[in-house]
């Protein structure tokens, strides 16, 4: 037996092998397209670069104040989603306000700094806003805050979170003339001020009058330290700040803000004997 015999024997193999392998295209192996390490390296480099660009864009788009109007609640909706050094430009005509939520005050007796701007194109630096004072938000207002932040950082804008504030405590009428900002509470024994500080911002040529049922208004010259009494009625014709103080008999009282014809707002002042503190609350 030699190779020729085996070759002839192969010629007599089973028909299934012949028919199966006669058409080579059916057997053709699919080539596995293996790429070079350089190619994979390039892919990895592009991937890393993409991540770096993404992170850079994220850093650039840090949270800032995003303000929008909520037509459903008929209130101004202030959404804090981004952080920038200057706050968005706002105008009274569009009823847009910027707001600062003071997380250090807690959610139970939250305060809110609401600053209307009389000049539409004016930008308010962040630092100025941060030093501004606060207006009490009525605690019975259930939708005053959609969500309460848990952070305790005083500089709340450094905290990346989103918060919506419904500025329901600012009456629509008052917003046309200006806004009242109440500078915290007043403890006659412990406070360093002469009363509850009130900063009233008005638009030009639209003076408003504040009428206190009891107590009286005073102004304080910071340079000379002289305190001037103005009585229970005080007319504000320009943006200024002043104090309301008690007359020794006052417990609960109210300050009505009028433009001469109608009441724009009412500031309710209540006295808590347990803490010996006056609280001011701005209501419509």
């Amino acid at each position: 037996m030699n190779g020729k015999d085996i070759f002839n024997a192969v010629g007599n193999i089973d028909d299934k092998y012949i028919s199966e392998f006669a058409d080579t295209s059916k057997f053709k192996k699919k080539k596995i397209f293996l790429l070079s390490p350089k190619f994979y390296g390039s892919i990895a480099a592009v991937f890393v670069l993409g991540i770096a660009v993404f992170i850079a864009l994220q850093q650039k788009n840090r949270p800032s104040i995003d303000i929008q109007n909520d037509s459903v609640h008929n209130n101004t909706v202030i959404s804090e989603t981004k952080q920038t050094e200057s706050i968005a430009e706002v105008s009274p005509e569009s009823s847009i306000y910027s707001a600062h939520y003071d997380v250090s005050k807690g959610s139970e007796h939250s305060t809110n700094n609401i600053i209307p701007y009389s000049t539409p194109s004016k930008s308010i630096p962040y630092e100025e806003r941060h030093d501004a004072d606060y207006i009490d938000i009525p605690s019975e207002e259930p939708h005053a805050y959609e969500e309460a932040p848990t952070a305790t950082n005083e500089n709340s804008l450094d905290v990346i979170f989103s918060i919506k504030v419904y500025a329901a405590e600012i009456p629509e009428k008052l917003s046309k003339n200006g806004a009242v900002q109440i500078k915290g509470d007043f403890d006659p024994l412990m406070s360093s001020s002469t009363g509850i500080g009130i900063e009233f911002q008005v638009t030009p040529y639209e003076p408003v009058t504040l009428q206190a049922e009891s107590g009286y208004f005073v102004t304080w010259d910071k340079d000379s330290g002289v305190i001037t009494e103005h009585g229970s009625s005080f007319t504000v014709s320009e943006t200024t700040d002043f104090f309301w103080t008690f007359d020794g008999e006052t417990n609960n009282t109210a300050i009505k803000v009028t433009d001469g014809n109608s009441v724009l707002s009412t500031i309710n002042i209540s006295y808590d004997e347990s803490t010996n503190t006056f609280y001011a609350q701005n209501t419509e």
Binding site: A9, G11, D15, I18, S19, D23, F27, K28, K29
Partner: protein, 184 residues
């Protein structure tokens, strides 16, 4: 056209049977003949002889696998042609004289040799069935269709050296297998 219909055409002695057969199997027959003969003219001659052989064989035969049937005929005719060509190339007329005188001797195909050939064929079939698909393909394409290593490389995507190595191992295993089967 389906193989069964082509066979029906042969049974009906239709002239279109050859045409349909050529349309379907000319390529594979050309591959077999070209790989053995290495000459296109000789291969075409063998293919024509193959068609004639099929015409003469069907009927009475009715092959179940027409592809294998025609490939075997083409292979055998090509080998015969190759032997003839080899005889012609011998020096002088010595080879031709030997071939002519061989006709005077009775055929050496005995019952015993036929049995041995059948046994060898069965053993080779068993061996092929023991191979994996790729090795089956390489073995059959190399030793039935007489494909070159280059052609096998194109068909499989393997490198020529890898194919040589594989076929070397297959042959070594075949030798062991034939010894185990007591064929050698």
């Amino acid at each position: 056209m389906e193989d069964e219909k082509i066979i029906e055409l042969f049974f009906g002695r239709s002239e279109s049977a050859i045409k349909e057969l050529a349309a379907k199997f000319e390529k594979v027959c050309m591959t077999v003949s070209m790989n053995i003969l290495g000459s296109r003219e000789d291969a075409e001659e063998c293919i024509n002889d193959t068609y004639l052989a099929v015409w003469n064989a069907i009927p009475p035969q009715k092959p179940d696998n027409l592809t294998a049937f025609i490939c075997k005929i083409a292979r055998n005719l090509s080998l015969k042609k190759s032997s003839y060509n080899s005889a012609e190339k011998r020096q002088g007329n010595y080879g031709n004289c030997i071939d002519e005188l061989n006709e005077c001797i009775p055929a050496q195909h005995t019952v015993e040799s036929e049995t041995e050939f059948a046994e060898l064929s069965d053993t080779v079939n068993k061996f092929i069935s023991s191979l994996d698909k790729t090795n089956q393909f390489l073995f059959v394409r190399r030793y039935f269709f007489s494909d070159s290593y280059e052609s096998l490389s194109k068909h499989t995507g393997l490198k020529e050296q890898a194919i040589r190595t594989r076929l070397s191992r297959i042959r070594s295993n075949l030798k062991k297998f034939l010894a185990e089967q007591e064929v050698l």
